[in-house]
Structure formats: C-alpha cells, structure tokens
C-alpha cells in the first residue's frame, strides 16, 4: 500500500498515531488505515520448536553449516531482509512480514524446574502466566498445568468482540498430531481445545450463513427456536446446579455455563447474509476423530474455512493449533526408525558430522524442512487468502490483520525457551512496520551477521503488551509481572 490517504496524513500531522512517524510515510512501507489499527488477530501455533540443530552446550548454531549446525527459521545473515529456508514460501508477502528474534519465554524459564519442558512451555508461551502443577485426580502419573490467566488470543477475542460483536468471538482450530497439550487458555485454568474436523467446523460456522439471496427457511427457523430453548434449559440447569457444588467446583460449572452461553449465542446469532463464499470440502471423513483424521487434507481445509469465516465477518480472532508431525505423505521413504517428529527433533545432534548417524544428516534435514514447510504452508495459504480479499480503500484483509506464528521452543532438541521464533505477518492496520526483522539479542551485530553470543532483556511479556497496544489497549503489561525482566511494550516495532 503506497497510497497516502487523508486519514494517514492527519494521523501523521497530528501526532495522534505515535507509531507512525513521518519517515514511514516516505520510504515505501507506509501503512494505510493507521488510525484504525488491525481488525483481526490470528495465531498459528505449531508444536515442538522450529528446525534447528545445536552444539553440545545447548547454544543454537549460527547457520554457518559448521558441524551441520543449522537454524532454518531465522532470516539469512546480512543487512538485507532475506527469508530463511522454512520461510522461503512467504517471499510473495515479505513486505508484510516482521520477524522478531531475541525474545525469551521468561515465564517458562523462571518457573519450569529446568529451563523448560513441553508442559511448562505450552502453559506459558501464550499466557506468560503463573502456572500451578497438580496431579490428575484419577491418574497421578499425569500432570495438570493450570494458569492464572488467559492466552493472548482469548483476551483479544473478548476485547475485539466488544468493539465489533460477532457470532464467534474466536474460532479455534486444530491440525492434530503429536503434542503435549494446548497452549490456548480462554481464562485462568480453562484450556481451549480446537475443533479438528473440518466438517464439524463447517457445520458450526456456516449453518446460518446464506448467500444473500435465499429466503428464510421456516423449518430451519423452527429448529433453531427449539435448539435455543433446549440450550436455555441446560443453562438454567447449570445455574441451579452451581449452588449444589463446592466452592472449588463452581469454576467448572461456571465454565460449562459460559460454553452453553457461547452455543446459545451461535444459535441466536441469526442468519448472516453475506457476500462471502463458503469453502468446498471434499474427501474428508466427517466422523474422523483426532487420532484418525487425515491432516494432509484437514489442514488446508481448516485454513480455507478460517479465511471464509473472516470474509463472512463471523469472527475477529482465529487460532490454528498444529501438532508436531512426522507425516509419511511428506516423506514416505524416510527411515522408519524416526517414526515421530518429536524423536526427529531430539535427534538433531545425533546426525551431526561427528555422530554415528552423520550419514543421515541430509535425510534428516530434508524431512525436518518438509515438515516445517508444510506447517508454514498453512500460514502461507492463509496469508494468500487474506491478500486476495479486498477490504476497501485499496486495502486487503492482510493489511488489516495481525498474524502471529510461533511454537513452544526455539530449539526443540534442547527445549530452549530463549530466542523464541516469532513471525508477525499482516500490516496490522498500519500499526507496525513490516518487511524486516528486529533482533532483541543485545549481542547481535547490527548487520545481522551470525553470532552465537546471546543476551536479552526482552520477553514475551513485552511482545504481548505491544500487541495489546496495537489493538488499542492501554496495557502496560501482559501476564504475570513476576517473571518478566521488565514491563512495557517492545521498542522498535513501529
């Protein structure tokens, strides 16, 4: 968007949009719609860390290739912003990308017994919360991680729904594969599990969407009235039941009641007459459970559904939770001994030149890269859908969206929660400056030359505070302040 519109000029002249200095208006990456900020927030989360190998001390390799060390996530070294191996497919949208480095998950690092395991990392990566670990009541060999606050997406969903009421405050989707638990929390101690079957999601989201020409169906209206009465009845039952349970259990019943209210809202939302097109789903098993669903098909279908949901105005926030996959459809000939992605991640050092599995290096790398690229392919598909959707004033939905893509570790092989991989995409309604990377590693040279030296005072707390502010919040912190180096937003974002 290189058009300078009146609104933007006013923002610049009046200093209202402090994130929009004049300089930005002149060098080709000026943002339209600055005063409005982003309309929607999307979070793609995939499990197991990104593609990296480490040295024996646990440091990331610098990408130089020494000892087969690699970090396929980071941009290429140098002053110019060039995408790394995993991100190559995002090249058409490079002007809408902002890669952040040198940001740690301090909430995990400070609370986990050692640096971070999957459970602690998942519970903190989107919440920055205080976490309590308790045994599962019926199986003490299982642990339950409870947080004292919501994840970022849930908070934004609530706020955005207040500004722009929608049928679905948040659409939560899952591409199921190996994982240690959902990182999404709608509130303290309330985990969110995403829908994993596209057919189920499709029916839920588009049941009340018409093409704008159809007349109301009396039979459907009748069924809807009945359903609403039934949900009302369940809600009344829960309200009465809440008085019968202990104080400890009230939270469970309240959550149950809120879920019923959410279903009621979906039913009561009424018919949505939209000019959007419902996605076409083919070749999917409507009865498949999370362990049998064909993710090669369900993944892209979920992305298409989410794009359509935004186009139909059904929601402001979407999340996609992608498991750590080793998929035979990506590499059917890979040695079967590496039967899951998790093992592959942890074997990153075994395949170094000095290890006995050194001969497997290229196969390992290729497989890992395919897996990561497939996951990021879902992000790419989503960005393409947004970019192809005009949204007035010469903008596209991509211009008015903020997307974040991350995972629970930087280097999965060592469970590192330092230097987290953060990809922002979309121009956030002009609230951030894209087409670049920012490295908060205090030891990183200005020209982004490779380095293993690392020091930071920036954590996810600061990033999420910034994101809240981008969406108009006046927040000075996100999550628990206990574990942050500092409160406040990131600098340099705008």
């Amino acid at each position: 968007m290189k058009t300078i519109n009146r609104r933007l000029v006013l923002a610049g002249l009046g200093g209202v949009a402090i994130a929009m200095p004049w300089l930005e208006l002149t060098h080709g990456k000026a943002q339209a719609q600055a005063a409005d900020g982003p309309k929607r927030f999307v979070l793609f989360f995939d499990h197991g860390g990104t593609l990296c190998a480490t040295d024996k001390g646990g440091k990331k390799f610098d990408g130089s290739g020494a000892q087969n060390g690699v970090d396929a996530w980071i941009p290429l070294p140098g002053a110019e912003f060039k995408l790394g191996a995993i991100h190559q497919q995002l090249q058409p949208y490079i002007d809408s990308l902002l890669i952040l480095r040198g940001i740690d998950n301090q909430a995990c690092a400070k609370q986990s017994p050692y640096n971070g395991d999957h459970g602690w990392a998942n519970a903190t990566v989107l919440t920055c919360a205080n976490v309590t670990l308790t045994p599962h009541p019926g199986d003490s060999s299982q642990d339950v991680y409870t947080t004292d606050g919501p994840s970022l997406d849930a908070l934004l969903a609530t706020r955005l729904a207040q500004k722009n009421p929608v049928t679905f405050p948040s659409i939560n989707l899952e591409v199921p594969a190996h994982n240690y638990g959902s990182p999404f929390y709608r509130a303290a101690n309330q985990k969110v599990e995403g829908d994993y079957n596209p057919k189920t999601v499709f029916d839920k989201l588009f049941a009340n969407v018409t093409d704008g020409a159809s007349k109301p169906d009396p039979a459907a209206e009748r069924a809807r009235a009945l359903k609403k009465s039934i949900l009302d009845g369940v809600g009344e039952g829960l309200t009465g039941f809440e008085n019968r349970v202990s104080a400890t259990d009230k939270q469970s019943i309240e959550a149950h009641l809120e879920h019923i209210r959410s279903l009621e809202k979906q039913v009561a939302g009424g018919m949505v007459s939209a000019t959007c097109t419902k996605p076409t789903l083919t070749g999917l098993d409507p009865k498949a459970d999370q362990y049998s669903i064909d993710i090669e098909k369900s993944g892209p279908a979920m992305v298409d559904i989410l794009i359509a949901a935004f186009r139909c105005g059904l929601t402001n926030v979407g999340t996609v939770n992608i498991g750590g996959l080793y998929a035979l459809f990506l590499n059917p000939t890979f040695p079967a001994a590496y039967n899951i992605g998790h093992s592959l991640d942890h074997s990153s050092r075994d395949v170094g030149k000095t290890g006995p599995d050194g001969a497997k290096w290229q196969a390992w790398y290729d497989t890992q890269l395919k897996n990561r690229q497939w996951r990021l392919g879902l992000v790419t598909r989503f960005l393409a859908g947004l970019a192809a959707t005009p949204e007035g004033n010469g903008t596209t939905m991509l211009d008015n969206t903020l997307l974040m893509s991350t995972t629970e570790f930087s280097c999965g092989a060592v469970h590192s929660v330092a230097d987290m991989p953060i990809l922002l995409a979309g121009k956030a309604g002009g609230k951030i400056k894209t087409g670049r990377q920012i490295n908060y590693n205090l030891k990183a040279p200005a020209n982004n030359a490779a380095t293993l030296d690392y020091q930071t005072t920036t954590s996810l707390h600061n990033l999420y505070t910034s994101i809240l502010q981008i969406f108009g919040g006046t927040d000075t912190n996100f999550g628990s302040t206990t574990h942050a180096w500092k409160t406040g937003p990131l600098d340099l974002l705008t």
Binding site: K56, G57, G58, Y114, N115, G116, D117, T134, P135, P137, G138, D139, S140, S141, V144, T146, H178, N179, Y180, G181, N189, Q190, K191, V192, E193, D195, P218, E221, R222, A225, L226, S229, I230, G233, V234, E236, G237, F241, R244, S246, T248, D249, I253, A255, H256, H259, I260, S262, L263, Q290, Y291, A337, I340, R349, D350, G355, D357, A413, V414, S416
Partner: protein, 583 residues
C-alpha cells in the same frame, strides 16, 4: 490433594505413632440415609466402628486413631466411555454410540460441551426416551404426563429422585418449549418431550457426579456419609463404568447401601456381571497405554517397519489388544484375582497371527479364530512379556529398553521419574572399526554412561535390557539384526542385567525373571493398589488414606487377590464417607 508425589507412594507412619492416637468422635449414633437428608430405612441404625451392619465406618478405626478416613471429593464428570455406556443403559438403546470429546483438563472445554450438545441431540433422535412417557406421545400437549415423564426419566438419568427445584426447572423447560410462539407448525407434545429429554441428556446432574453426602449426627462435623444413591453410583461407575441398574437403585432407595455389608453385597454382585469383565479389560488397556493419546498412537496404529515386519496385519494388532485385556481379565476372574498370575502366567488368548508370532505350534490359524494356549515358559511370563506391551513400547524397527524400562518404573513400580534434562548431551559416541557399537543395548549403554544419566538410566536401562529378547513387535529374538551404512550385521541379544530399581535388586537373566521379581515386589503391589485406588476414588491417595493403603498392601501380599482389593476399595470408608471440603 497433593500428597505422595515424590515418590508417588504412601509413606507409612510408624505404628507406635498411630497407636498413640486416641479415639475421638461419636460413632454409631442414629443416622439418616436416603437422599438429600431424608431419613432412610436404616435411620437410627446403630453399629460400632467396624460393624458391617451398622451405618458407621467399615473399619474399626484403630489404625486411624478413631478418625474416619474420609477425604474431600471433587466434581467428577463422566468420561466419554462412561457417558456412552450410561446413554445406552438409560435409553435401553444398544445401538446408541455417542462420542464425546475426551477431557484434557479439570475444567470442561467448549469443544467437550459442543460434543455433548451434539450427542444429546443425536440420542434424542433415536426416540428411545419416549418409552418413559406414560401417555400417548403423539397426543396433545399434556403437562401432567410430561411431569410424570420428567420424574421417571429424570430419576434414571440423575441416578436419584429429582428434588423440587429440579422438577420445577424441567417442567419449566417443558412449558416453555410447548408454548413456543412464532414457529410454524406449532411444537407438538412429542417434540416438547424430546426437548426435555435433550436437556436431561446434557444436564450437569447426568454429566457430573456430584457427591454431597448427608449430615449424620453420629459423625464428626466435617464428615458426611454418602447417600445410598451416591454409593450406588460409585459402585456402578467403578465396577461397570455405567449408571446403576435397577437392583442397585432399589438397594439405594431401600437403604441397603447404608451399611458396609450392604455395599459389599452389591460390589460382589456387580463383579459377577459381564460388565465388570469389560471394566477390567478397559483398566488393562488404559494402564498399559494401548489407547491413542496425543503423545502415543494406539496399539492398532502405532507405526512399524512394513519391510522388516511384513507379517504385520490389522488382525495381529487386534489380537495384541485382545490378548492383553484377556490376560488381565483371566487373572482377575479365573485366577482368583491373582496379581502373580497377571505377571507370570503362560496362558495366552491368541488368534492365528499372534499364535504365529509367539511360535505356538498347535493353535488358531486365522485372524478371527481365538483360543487359549500355553506359551513357552522359557520365553513368556505374564503381561510384560506379551506383544501388546512390548510392541507398544518399542520403536518402528527395534525394541526400546528405555520406553519399556520407563513404563515399568512409572506404571508398575510407581516411581517418579523426571523427564530427561533437555540440555543433556545425548550424542552417541562415534563408532569405529575396533569398537563399533551395534546392538540397541550397546548403543544405549554408551549413550547413557556419562554425566548424570546414570541417576535415572541406572534404574531404567536394566529393566529394559531384560526384555531385549523381544523385538519391536514382541516376537522372540536371540539375535538382533540391523545394518550400518548398508552393511548388514547380526549381534547376539544380551538380556542379562542387574536390577536396582525400587525394591528390585540383583542379577536377572531374562524378562521371565523380571516378571517373577515384579510379581513378588512390595513396590509393585503398592503400585497396583495405587492404580486401583485412583480408579476407585477418582483422586490420589492422601495422608488420611495411610491406614487403608497399609491394610490393602498386607492383604494383597497375603491373599494375592486383585478382585478382593477392588472390593475392599469399593467398600472402604474412603469410598463410603467424604469430608466437607475447605471453603
């Protein structure tokens, strides 16, 4: 409820400490039963502690110093399996197959609620609930008839009679639905009944087990006796994974469950029913991790090398689960609940493919033909030498001593093992011409020899090594075959190890010997008690349960009877009484 976590087993107080504690509280005074504080037939029933026919505690409380070992209970929501069984029994609809999303946390998720909502809708479509309507369901709106339906169907669904508030709520639902305006055609009586049923089928009273008990003047002020209906639900969900049947409901309503003896009578009855066998089979599969989770595929789908194990078929995978479940069932019901039989038996229920895998010469020959056979006692002994466990805890190509060892440490000895440190140097040593490492064992030995690895792997590896004679499918092997850089090799299997985990110590030669040690291990017995305790009481053991756990341990050691263990748990004071939770 955060006791006994590291390690996760009960620490017993010195006996002297227990004996010093004096009796307190007034036991055996008149009590009340029934439901919601109503007096039951045994109201006024007496009985000193330990009197099985009184309404007081089942134990004599000597060990507990006079305290009733009751603990607070949390709300329990039915598992998907329990809900499906309940729906089938409630609706008398064997074809009903509702599928709820599995719980992933203590608090229900929207995904679960949505699946429950959909399941209730689908169940109502079967129209099976209409058999509870005592009038013509195709007739005109009939509030009186609807009220009778609500009382009858509701009591079945809620596992107890409805109280006045619940009657008001549900008759209110009927009234609102039957009077819905603005719809054409008008809502029929049958549809109104359907709507009420749909509410009931996803109501919290059905979905959650909420125990409040009754106040009994004979009990300490913070202890409550579970009502007969609550005890009935406990028994039936523990032993049948479903709602109480008519006999249990009758026993509850008549006060027969107010006494420990009455509870035990029903526990015996339930355990003699085929549904209890199914419960035991599911317990076995759950315990051994044969079901799919987000971290581990089900035994039916876990990946194996199709070239190396060309004989692998769906029929073989089915048999792996069938045999595992059948062995637990066999030990529990046909071998007098013998824990030792579970761990040492050579009896096996196999089909053709599994018989072939085990090398059984005269057994079934096809995948759909099953029979009991006897396995070679030099190769097989009990459940940890069977394909279900061995294939589940292995990689696609090779056996996994770590997975097998960790599983037994955690789930058979209940030892708390932390996850490996993420920054551990797990790079294997470089093989070379003179000391080339070949076998799984030698590679693992080298990999875990240094640093702090031995603090855990010193316990894990030897257990796993004793199972080296079983390959990734669970087949017997005396040699391990593989390839390095395309060059094939063969190495002899070494299953000898010196155990030093929990109370297992000393040299063993094989998985058969490991199984024998486990069968006689106090720690293994304590662990199996813990597993059944958590199933029976849906909570972890607390300090208040020390006496019960010690008693169960001594009885299991003396009687070797898991069935007796389950009955003892089901009729224990911990199952009969609850403590008011701290607010």
């Amino acid at each position: 409820m955060r006791q006994f976590r590291n390690p996760r087993k009960v620490q017993l107080l010195p006996l002297a400490t227990l004996l010093l504690a004096g009796c307190s509280g007034v036991i055996g005074a008149p009590g009340i039963s029934g439901d919601n504080g109503q007096a039951g037939p045994n109201a006024g029933g007496l009985g000193a502690p330990g009197d099985p026919n009184g309404t007081g505690p089942a134990s004599n409380l000597t060990c507990t110093g006079g305290k009733i070992p009751a603990s607070p209970v949390a709300l329990h929501r039915l598992s998907p399996e329990e809900y499906a069984n309940t729906a089938r029994d409630l609706l008398v609809a064997p074809m009903a197959n509702p599928k709820l999303e599995p719980p992933t946390d203590n608090v229900i998720t929207e995904l679960e609620v949505a699946s429950l909502n959909g399941a209730a809708h689908d169940l109502v479509a079967l129209k099976a609930h209409r058999t509870f309507v005592p009038c013509d369901v195709n007739g005109p709106q009939d509030a009186a008839c609807a009220a009778k339906f609500i009382d009858k169907f509701g009591a079945m669904a809620f596992r107890r009679p409805l109280d006045a508030d619940e009657q008001t709520w549900l008759t209110g639902v009927y009234s609102k639905v039957s009077a819905l305006t603005g719809v054409t055609p008008a809502i029929t009586f049958g549809e109104s009944i359907d709507a009420v049923a749909e509410v009931i089928l996803q109501s919290p009273q059905l979905v959650y087990i909420n125990e409040v008990g009754v106040v009994d003047a004979s009990l300490p002020s913070d202890v409550r006796r579970l009502t007969g209906y609550e005890r009935a639900s406990r028994l039936s969900y523990l032993l049948w994974s479903t709602m109480p049947d008519e006999a249990l409901r009758t026993a509850a309503g008549g006060g027969a469950l107010d006494t420990p003896a009455g509870v035990r009578t029903q526990a015996d009855r339930l355990l003699s029913d085929p549904r209890a066998r199914q419960m035991v089979r599911r317990f076995a599969s759950t315990w051994l991790g044969l079901d799919a989770t987000t971290l581990h595929p089900a035994i039916e789908t876990i990946g194996k090398n199709k070239t190396k194990f060309a004989y692998d078929t769906p029929g073989l995978r089915d048999a792996m689960r069938q045999e595992t479940e059948s062995l637990y069932e066999h030990a529990f019901f046909e071998k007098n609940g013998s824990f030792k039989a579970l761990l040492t038996s050579t009896d096996a229920y196999v089909n053709g493919p599994l018989a072939t895998l085990y090398g059984v010469k005269s057994g079934p020959t096809s995948a759909d033909q099953y029979a009991w056979v006897t396995l070679d006692s030099a190769q097989r002994a009990g459940i940890f030498t069977r394909a279900g466990f061995l294939a589940s805890e292995a990689s696609a190509d090779y056996q996994s001593p770590v997975h097998r060892g960790v599983f037994i440490m955690r789930n058979t000895l209940c030892q708390n093992l932390p996850p490996p440190p993420p920054n551990v140097d797990n790079t294997p040593p470089t093989p070379n011409g003179s000391t080339q490492l070949r076998s799984v064992r030698s590679l693992l030995d080298a990999k875990t020899a240094g640093g702090s690895c031995q603090s855990c792997h010193g316990m894990i590896n030897p257990i796993g090594f004793t199972l080296e004679n079983y390959d990734a499918m669970g087949a017997w092997q005396t040699q391990e075959k593989g390839a390095v850089d395309g060059a094939p090799y063969t190495v002899d299997v070494d299953a000898k190890a010196t155990l030093k985990a929990a109370d297992l110590a000393g040299p063993v030669q094989s998985g058969v010997e490991l199984s024998s040690l486990l069968a006689n291990s106090d720690d293994a017995r304590t662990c199996v008690i813990q597993k059944w305790f958590e199933k029976a009481l849906a909570r972890t053991a607390s300090d208040d349960d020390k006496c019960l756990m010690a008693d169960l341990q001594s009885k299991l050691k003396a009687n070797d009877d898991l069935k007796g263990l389950v009955i003892a748990l089901a009729s224990s004071d911990a199952a009969l009484f609850i403590k008011e939770p701290a607010q």
